[in-house]
C-alpha cells in the first residue's frame, strides 16, 4: 500500500470514480470524477487536530459500524493518502433554503451549546437571523427528513433561539475595510436590498441604500406587525448591517419627490440594485370600492407600523388568503374589531403560512372560504355591508391550483363597516424610468443573475417576483451581490455558479434503523387575553433545554454540517469547504478493472438473526474485533464487554445457498478456521464450527486445518440453519449434523457468520462503463473460463482480483499480476492490429435514423454532424447486427455483406 502511494510512476486518484470510457484498445479516453475532499492533499499534514471540534458523528465504515467517526475523518490510521477527508453530502434543508443557510451547521452548534458560534455561522450567510427566525415561511422544514421519523425539526425556531440567546452578548461588529474603490447604490432597505448591501460591504465595496420611507426594513418594517416581529429585533439587525459600513438614506425616494433619479444613480455609482419591493395594492374592482372604510392591507399595516393613527370599524372583513391578509386580520383584531377573512379558494389553497392561519383562528378570527365579494354596499356614503358570492373549485389553472368559479345565485351578505383588501401587491415602477417591466407589472431581471437589460442595473426581491417571502428576498439580494461583484470585476456572471441546487426529493438519506422517536418541540405562546389586545410578540421562543433537545433530533443528513470549526483548528490551512467536484481526462492504452467484491449482507437471511443481537457478527466485524487497531484494541469481547465462553462459527452464510448466492465464496472456510484459531488462542472459549464441507484447496491450507483441529475446535458437519436470540441474550445455533444424521444445537455467547463474497451492487453500472459481460453469479466475465482468465471481450480491458470471482489473497495477487502482464504485453508491443471486418456506412443510402446506433452492442456507431451514421472501426467487432436493423441497406458489415450472403444463400440452394 505504502509503495503504491509513493511510486513515482503511479498517480493516485483517490475519492474518484471513472464516469466515462471512450475509445478502443490502446487508445482509451477516460473521464474521472474527483469528489471534493474539502481538504487540500498537498497541505494536510494528517495531524488530526481538525477532528476535535467536529460536532457530527456517524458509523465508521472501516470498523464496519462497530465504532463511530466524525464528519471529518481519516478512514484508518495507515490510510493512503494519509490526509483527512470531509464527508459532505447534500442536505434537504440547506438545498431547499432559498438563501442556502447551513442549517445543519448551526443546529449542530446549538446542540453542543455553542450558541455564539451558531449565530456567527448564520451571520456568514445572512444578517437577518432574528428576523428570519421569526417571519420565515421555512420551506426547509417541509423537506426536513426527520418528518419520515415523526415530524420535521423546528428549524426556524432554532434560528431564532440562536439569535435571542447570543445576539445581546455578541461583540458589536467593526466596520469592514474597503477593498475596492467601486460604490454600489441600492434602492430599498427591505430584506433584498439590505442582504445585497450586507454581502457587498463585506466584500469590500462602498454601499449606499436609499429608502423612501422614514424607517428602514421595507416590508419587514411596515408590512409585518410587531406581534410577529418586534421592532427592536429588526432594528438591531439593521444597526448591525450599518455598523459594517453600509450607509442608509431614509426619506429619499428615487425618481419622485425631489429624490435622485435612476439615471443619477447610474451616473454616480458603479452599479445599481433595485429592490423596491411590491408596496402597491391590487384593486378589488367591484362596485362600492371607493366607499370610505375600504382599506388596503399594505396601507393599513404601514400606518400601524409607523405608529400613525388608524381608524377601523367594529366589524372588519379582510379579503385575501396570503400572509398580508392574515397580518391585517390579526392586527385589526388587536385594535378591538371583530374580524372575518373572506377567501375565494379553500383553506388548503391559502398561500399564508399554515401556522399563521391556525393562530388567527385560535385568536377568534372567522373565515369564509370559497367566497368572493361582488359589491360593497353603502348608505349615505357609509359602508353597511358587503355582498359576496360562493365559489366552487373548477379545473386547475396555470399555477396548478384549482380555479374558483362562482356558484350561480349563491350571493350572501356580510354586515361589515370596514373592508381590508389584501389580494396581492405590485411594485410601483412609475418612478423608475428606463427599466423594463413584465406583463405582471414587475421588473424584468434574469432569475439567476438578477441582471436587468440595463447595463449595470440589477433587480431582485418582490419587485421582480411579485410578493413573496422574506427568505426569497434575502436569496435574491445575495445573488445580486455576487453578480454585482462579478460585474464590477469583469467576471462572467454565470461561470462556476450553482443556481439549481439538488431537489430535496432527489436527495437520498438513510434513516438509521431503530431510531427513537422524539416529539417536535413547540414554542410557548403569550396568553390568549394578552395576544388579542396587545401587539406583544406572540411566540416566546425556546428555552435552552428545549432548543438543545430539538437540535438533538437532527439526522445530520449532510454528515458535515459546515459549522467551520475544523477550519479554525487547521493550522496548515488545508480545509476548503467550497471545493467542487473536478473532472480529470486521461488517455490510456490499457485498463485493469479491479473493483473487488461486496460482503454478503446477512440481514437478507433472517434465520441468522443478524442485527437482532450485537453478538452476532459478520466475518469482517469479527476481523476488526481481533485487530489491535480495532474497536476493542484487539480483545475478543462480547458487546457486554465480557470474554465469551462459547463461540459458534457458521460457514457458507450467503454462499452455496439457493436463497442467496449459489457460488462458493472460496475464502470463508479458511477465514472461519482462522477465526476459530484466534478465539481458541486468545480466549480459550469453546468453539463450535458448523461447516458443510471443508474447502482447504490452497498451499498450506490443509495443514492449517489440521492445526485448528488440534486447537480443540469442535467441528459439526452440517449447515448452521438458524440462530435464535434467547431472552437472556444467549444465542442458540441449530444445525443438522449430517455425520450423526440428527439435529443439534449449541448455546453460545457469540456467533460469527462466515459471510461470503458477492458482486458489488454497482457491478452492472461498471460493466456497462467498460463494456464487460457478467457471469450468472454477477461477477465480471473473463474472455474464456480456462484459457483467458484476465482478458475480457473488450480488447485492452483486463480483470484483476475478486471482481471476476471470489478468491483469496494469494490468488488475487496472482490474478492481478497476470492482468498486469497482459497489459504490459500490449504496451510493450506498442501497436495493435485492428481487424478490417467491420461495418462500413454507405452515406448515399443512410438517412440517419439511428437504428444501427441503437442496435450496435458496442456503441461503435454514432450519428455525425451531417446526420449520417459513422462507425468507429476500432470499437466495431463485426457482428453485423447493425446491417440487419438498417432498412436502407446503408450499413455494410465488410466480409459479411448482403451481396456476399445473398450469393451464398442462392448458391447453396441451386
Amino acid at each position: 500500500m505504502m509503495d503504491a502511494g509513493r511510486h513515482p510512476n503511479i498517480e493516485l486518484l483517490s475519492y474518484s470514480a471513472v464516469v466515462d470510457v471512450q475509445g478502443y484498445v490502446g487508445n482509451f479516453q477516460v473521464r474521472v470524477k474527483k469528489k471534493p475532499r474539502y481538504i487540500d492533499l498537498t497541505k494536510c499534514t494528517g495531524c488530526g487536530e481538525c477532528v476535535k471540534e467536529c460536532p457530527v458523528e456517524v458509523d465508521s465504515e472501516f470498523e464496519v459500524g462497530l465504532t463511530k467517526r466524525k464528519a471529518i475523518y481519516r478512514p484508518f490510521a495507515q490510510a493512503i493518502p494519509p490526509a483527512f477527508v470531509i464527508d459532505k453530502r447534500p442536505s434537504p434543508c440547506k438545498s431547499t433554503c432559498p438563501a442556502h443557510i447551513p442549517v445543519q451547521g448551526y443546529i449542530a452548534l446549538i446542540g453542543q451549546g455553542k450558541y455564539d458560534k451558531a449565530l456567527a455561522l448564520i451571520r456568514e450567510t445572512t444578517a437577518f437571523v432574528g428576523t428570519l427566525g421569526r417571519v420565515c415561511h421555512h420551506p426547509c422544514e417541509l423537506e426536513c427528513k426527520r418528518k419520515d421519523v415523526e415530524a420535521p425539526l423546528a428549524i426556524c425556531a432554532l434560528k431564532r433561539f440562536a439569535y435571542d440567546v447570543a445576539a445581546p452578548t455578541a461583540p458589536p461588529p467593526a466596520p469592514v475595510e474597503r477593498v475596492y474603490g467601486e460604490k454600489v447604490a441600492i434602492v430599498g432597505t427591505g430584506p433584498a436590498g439590505l442582504s445585497a448591501a450586507y454581502d457587498l460591504v463585506r466584500m469590500g465595496y462602498g454601499v449606499t441604500v436609499y429608502e423612501a420611507l422614514p424607517v428602514a426594513g421595507g416590508m419587514l418594517a411596515v408590512g409585518i406587525p410587531a406581534y410577529r416581529l418586534p421592532k427592536d429585533v429588526l432594528q438591531q439587525e439593521i444597526d448591525y448591517i450599518k455598523a459594517l459600513g453600509v450607509e442608509i438614506k431614509l426619506n429619499t425616494p428615487i425618481g419622485r419627490d425631489g429624490g435622485p433619479t435612476l439615471e443619477d444613480l447610474r451616473r454616480d455609482y458603479d452599479a445599481v440594485f433595485l429592490a423596491v419591493g411590491a408596496h402597491r395594492s391590487r384593486q378589488l374592482n367591484v362596485p362600492g370600492e371607493d366607499l370610505p372604510g375600504v382599506l388596503h392591507s399594505t396601507d393599513f399595516l404601514r400606518a400601524l407600523n409607523l405608529g400613525q393613527e388608524v381608524k377601523i370599524g367594529k366589524r372588519v372583513a379582510v379579503i385575501g388568503g396570503g400572509n398580508a391578509a392574515i397580518d391585517a386580520a390579526r392586527s385589526a383584531l388587536r385594535l378591538g374589531s371583530q374580524v372575518t377573512i373572506v377567501y375565494r379558494r379553500s383553506r388548503a389553497e391559502m398561500p399564508a403560512i399554515p401556522a399563521e392561519v391556525d393562530a388567527a383562528e385560535e385568536e377568534g378570527i372567522a373565515f369564509h372560504f370559497l367566497a368572493t365579494p361582488v359589491r360593497i354596499l353603502g348608505e349615505n356614503g357609509r359602508m353597511t355591508a358587503m355582498e359576496c358570492i360562493r365559489m366552487e373549485l373548477g379545473a386547475p389553472d396555470e399555477s396548478g391550483r384549482r380555479r374558483p368559479v362562482p356558484v350561480p345565485s349563491s350571493e350572501f351578505t356580510l354586515e361589515v363597516d370596514t373592508v381590508i383588501v389584501s389580494i396581492g401587491q405590485q411594485p410601483d415602477l412609475a418612478p423608475l424610468a428606463g427599466v423594463e417591466a413584465t406583463g405582471w407589472g414587475t421588473l424584468t431581471a434574469d432569475p439567476d443573475t438578477m441582471a436587468t437589460p440595463v447595463e449595470g442595473v440589477f433587480a431582485g426581491g418582490d419587485a421582480v417576483t411579485g410578493p413573496a417571502s422574506a427568505v426569497w428576498a434575502v436569496a435574491a439580494g445575495k445573488r445580486a451581490a455576487e453578480s454585482i461583484h462579478r460585474y464590477l470585476r469583469g467576471l462572467d456572471l454565470r461561470q462556476g455558479r450553482v443556481f439549481e441546487w439538488p431537489k430535496a426529493a432527489d436527495i437520498q438519506v438513510e434513516i438509521p434503523a431503530g431510531i427513537e422517536k422524539a416529539a417536535r418541540r413547540e414554542m410557548a405562546a403569550l396568553p390568549m387575553a394578552e395576544r388579542k389586545s396587545t401587539f406583544k410578540e406572540v411566540e416566546l421562543g425556546f428555552t435552552e433545554e428545549e432548543a438543545r433537545a430539538e437540535a438533538a433530533r437532527c439526522l445530520s443528513c449532510a454528515v458535515c454540517s459546515e459549522c467551520q470549526e475544523c477550519v479554525k483548528l487547521c493550522e496548515a490551512k488545508a480545509i476548503d469547504h467550497n471545493m467542487r467536484e473536478e473532472f480529470v481526462d486521461l488517455e490510456v492504452g490499457t485498463i485493469i478493472v479491479a473493483t473487488g467484491f461486496a460482503d454478503f449482507d446477512p440481514t437478507r437471511l433472517p434465520q441468522y438473526s443478524y442485527g437482532r443481537s450485537p453478538n452476532i457478527l459478520t466475518g469482517m466485524e469479527f476481523e476488526r474485533l481481533t485487530s489491535a487497531g480495532g474497536p476493542t484494541g484487539g480483545e475478543i469481547l462480547t458487546a457486554e464487554g465480557k470474554v465469551p465462553e462459547r463461540v459458534a462459527i457458521i460457514h457458507c452464510v450467503g454462499s452455496r445457498d439457493v436463497n442467496a448466492n449459489r457460488h462458493c465464496s472460496r475464502v470463508c472456510c479458511m477465514y472461519a478456521l482462522k477465526h476459530a484459531h484466534l478465539v481458541r488462542e486468545m480466549t480459550g472459549a469453546e468453539v463450535y464450527e458448523f461447516y458443510m464441507d471443508m474447502r482447504t484447496f490452497g498451499k498450506g491450507y490443509e495443514e492449517f486445518y489440521e492445526r485448528v483441529q488440534e486447537d480443540g475446535v469442535i467441528f459439526v458437519r452440517g449447515r448452521g440453519t438458524e440462530v435464535r436470540v434467547r431472552e437472556d441474550g444467549k444465542l442458540v445455533v441449530r444445525a443438522e449434523d449430517t455425520n450423526l444424521g440428527r439435529p443439534v444445537s449449541a448455546t453460545v455467547d457469540m456467533v460469527i457468520l462466515g459471510t461470503g463474497m458477492e458482486a458489488r451492487p454497482d457491478a452492472d453500472q461498471v460493466a456497462r462503463l467498460f463494456g464487460l459481460g457478467r457471469t450468472a453469479d454477477g461477477f465480471f466475465a473473463e474472455a474464456h473460463p480456462k484459457l483467458r482468465p484476465v482478458e475480457t471481450n473488450t480488447e485492452g480491458v483486463f480483470l484483476a482480483g475478486t471482481c471476476q470471482g471470489p478468491r483469496d489473497v494469494p490468488d488475487t495477487v496472482a490474478h492481478a499480476s497476470a492482468a498486469a502482464a497482459q497489459a504490459l504485453a500490449l504496451m510493450s508491443k506498442g501497436v495493435v492490429t485492428i481487424s478490417p471486418t467491420v461495418s462500413h456506412v454507405l452515406t448515399r443510402f443512410c438517412t440517419g435514423c439511428g437504428k444501427c446506433v441503437l442496435a450496435c452492442p458496442y456503441n461503435a456507431i454514432s450519428l455525425n454532424g451531417d446526420g449520417k451514421a459513422e462507425v468507429n472501426a476500432a470499437l466495431c467487432k463485426g457482428c453485423g447486427t447493425c446491417a440487419a436493423a438498417c432498412p436502407s441497406d446503408a450499413i455494410v458489415p465488410l466480409h459479411f455483406t448482403d451481396d456476399q450472403l445473398v450469393a451464398q444463400i442462392v448458391g447453396v440452394l441451386q
Partner: protein
C-alpha cells in the same frame, strides 16, 4: 438429394461463436445429421435480417433455421436480443400471410450442444418434410437482377 420422397432443402443460418461451433462439435462427435441442412455462417444471429430469411424461402428453401447463442451468452452481448424480436415477429407475419409457421424456426445452440444441434435439425427437417415443398408461384426464379 436421393430417395423417392420429398427431401426438403433447409437453409440454416448459424452464428459463428455458438451454433456454428455446435455444428462443428456435432461433426467431431460423428453424430448423424440430416443432409438437408445447408449451413450459412454469419458472425451473429443478429445479422440475419428479414430479407435474408425471405430471400431463402423465395429462392427455393423449404424451411429456414436461425440458430444463435443462448440469451445471455451472445459473443457480442446483445446481438441475439435483436434476433429474438425479429425472427418471431417475421414468423407471425409469414403465418398470417399463409405460410406454415413450422418453416421458420429460431433456436439457441451453444458450442458444446452437439446433441441439441442434431435434435433441432432432425426435428426441423422432419417437420418441413411433413409439410411438403413450399409452393409459391414462380419462387425459384425470383428476379434478383
Amino acid at each position: 438429394m436421393s430417395g423417392d420422397g420429398f427431401e426438403p432443402r433447409i437453409v440454416a443460418f448459424l452464428c459463428n461463436w455458438c451454433s456454428y461451433a455446435g455444428a462443428d462439435t456435432a461433426g467431431v462427435s460423428r453424430l448423424e445429421l440430416p443432409p438437408n441442412i445447408l449451413p450459412v455462417r454469419v458472425m451473429c444471429s443478429g445479422r440475419v435480417s428479414a430479407e435474408m430469411v425471405l430471400k431463402a424461402l423465395l429462392s427455393g428453401a423449404d424451411g429456414v433455421l436461425v440458430l444463435g447463442c443462448h440469451i445471455g451468452d451472445c459473443h457480442y452481448g446483445s446481438g441475439n436480443h435483436r434476433t429474438v424480436k425479429r425472427i418471431p415477429l417475421l414468423r407471425r407475419l409469414m403465418t398470417y400471410m399463409g405460410i406454415e409457421p413450422d418453416r421458420l424456426r429460431l433456436d439457441w445452440v451453444s458450442g458444446a450442444e452437439a446433441g441439441h444441434f442434431a435434435k433441432i435439425t432432425t426435428e426441423f427437417v422432419e417437420a418441413v418434410r411433413a409439410l411438403g415443398p413450399l409452393s409459391l408461384p414462380l419462387r425459384e426464379d425470383l428476379d434478383t437482377g
